[in-house]
Symmetry: C2
Subunit: 273 residues, 2 copies
């Protein structure tokens, strides 16, 4: 890179933050890590890190995703966000209020990742410094503005399952509650008109499992019969995989794979209330 007068523009730190969503036990959950350093020490935060000097933004997000979860996402530069063996990853929005980090001027390019249910988070080897937290627990109305509900950095306790509520609600660090809210809203609206909900499922899944994804993300219940007709009736949305079955209770269900169609038209209608 040729030399350039650095006094011509103010220098910024650029980071990527990740909203990693998954569905665990019928609840929409997000990955949060415990902060070990100065500002907001001990508080939960979204995973993220600095963009390297010669790294693209999407590449930085994909690298952070691997570091935090081991998930391998497609390069988001490729236009159709088809899930591979890993997760869906897309850019969400950029947050750059001058006072969002007290240490320095940081602009954070937030990304949204959607992943199937994973065994347990591993954050740089430190097991209990990362967990899947139900978003409902993190976004309880008054927490979005950044207000601290439990004023101190109260411990959430040890939770081997990774989804427990032992710690009670606690505001996320920085403006991460706002970022999380924006990511959840993006996911909620995008599954209406796209095949994105399949990114929450394993490679092969049943119609019922896909329906439970919609129900968890939207927080509603859907008619199983009409849902089945809708998703199987849209050409290219689902393709039968081997035709075999699996079980989760009653009659064995047909297994499907996500089809080539990425757009769902007409869209899935989200019920009111």
């Amino acid at each position: 890179m040729p030399p350039y007068d650095p006094s011509a523009f103010p220098p910024f730190a650029v980071t990527v933050d990740l909203v990693v969503l998954t569905v665990r036990r019928h609840a929409l959950c997000t990955l949060v890590v415990r902060r070990g350093e100065a500002p907001y020490q001990g508080r939960w935060a979204l995973p993220g890190g600095f963009v390297r000097a010669d790294e693209d933004l999407g590449a930085a997000a994909a690298r952070e995703l691997v570091e935090e979860t081991g998930l391998c996402a497609h390069d988001p530069a490729a236009p159709p966000p088809v899930p591979s063996n890993g997760a869906h990853l897309e850019q969400l929005a950029t947050y750059g209020a001058p006072d969002r980090d007290p240490r320095m001027r940081v602009v954070s390019v937030a990304h949204l990742a959607l992943a199937p249910d994973l065994p347990a988070p591993r954050a740089g080897g430190d097991a209990n410094s990362a967990r899947w937290a139900p978003v409902e627990e993190l976004l309880g109305e008054d927490m979005i503005a950044g207000t601290v509900v439990s004023a101190d950095g109260a411990e959430a306790g040890d939770d081997p399952e990774g989804t427990g509520k032992s710690g009670g609600p606690e505001a996320l660090a920085f403006d991460h509650a706002r970022i999380l809210a924006d990511g959840v809203e993006r996911a909620r609206s995008k599954i209406e008109y796209s095949s994105l909900a399949t990114a929450f499922c394993p490679p092969e899944f049943t119609v019922g499992e896909l329906r439970r994804v919609y129900e968890a993300v939207w927080g509603v219940s859907l008619d199983p019969r009409n849902f089945h007709r809708k998703v199987t009736g849209t050409p290219g949305f689902l393709v039968p995989a081997g035709g075999t079955t699996t079980r989760q209770g009653g009659r064995p269900a047909q297994l499907f794979r996500a089809g080539g169609a990425t757009l769902l038209n007409p869209p899935m209608l989200r019920p009111e209330v």
Copy 2:
């Protein structure tokens, strides 16, 4: 801002770029400015500039918008993007490929602005260094990748109206063709389910004028009868303004103002093809 070790992270320049869209003469147009400096000198580019040291991203975009067009937009931090006396402004996406600017590492937070038809662009006093260009002219398939169609920086000639095609197609500087394409796509999809199309209209407008906005942005023609029923039948979408009329051809039409409803449900359906 407290001191911090600047060697802990690579420094970036952060800019805002603007996709300013309007509808002129039944065509969707965008504001482009002539580059006077080193890389891509003489080529057209999207307006933009550096974010200042203590400036929010949205504030920087609003400032650039005023500098380039005189338009006064609402602070995009306010959640509902209601158009005021000025334009609609929202964040679009962030572009940060390591080689997108040969001089240095630049991350650009692109914003999308929607404005009613304006008399003529004024770019920092230099009149013929800015123009409204039809997007169709700038996004002719092969131009999105950044390829130069007319290899040199051919002059577009003097064009007092600001919309002329005298220069013929020429690729935009940097990755601005990609940014413009993303902004156009955002506008095209967002007018489906929101009242955003009214941002292209003056404060008071007729149903026919609003329909011609949809037709220009989508590049289709819509049934005037069904369109009228659709927009007037959605409660809160349009409110009668004074009830007076205006003319553009036949029978006088009722004047409307944008109503409080920002979401259009069920959405306006975009015809195929």
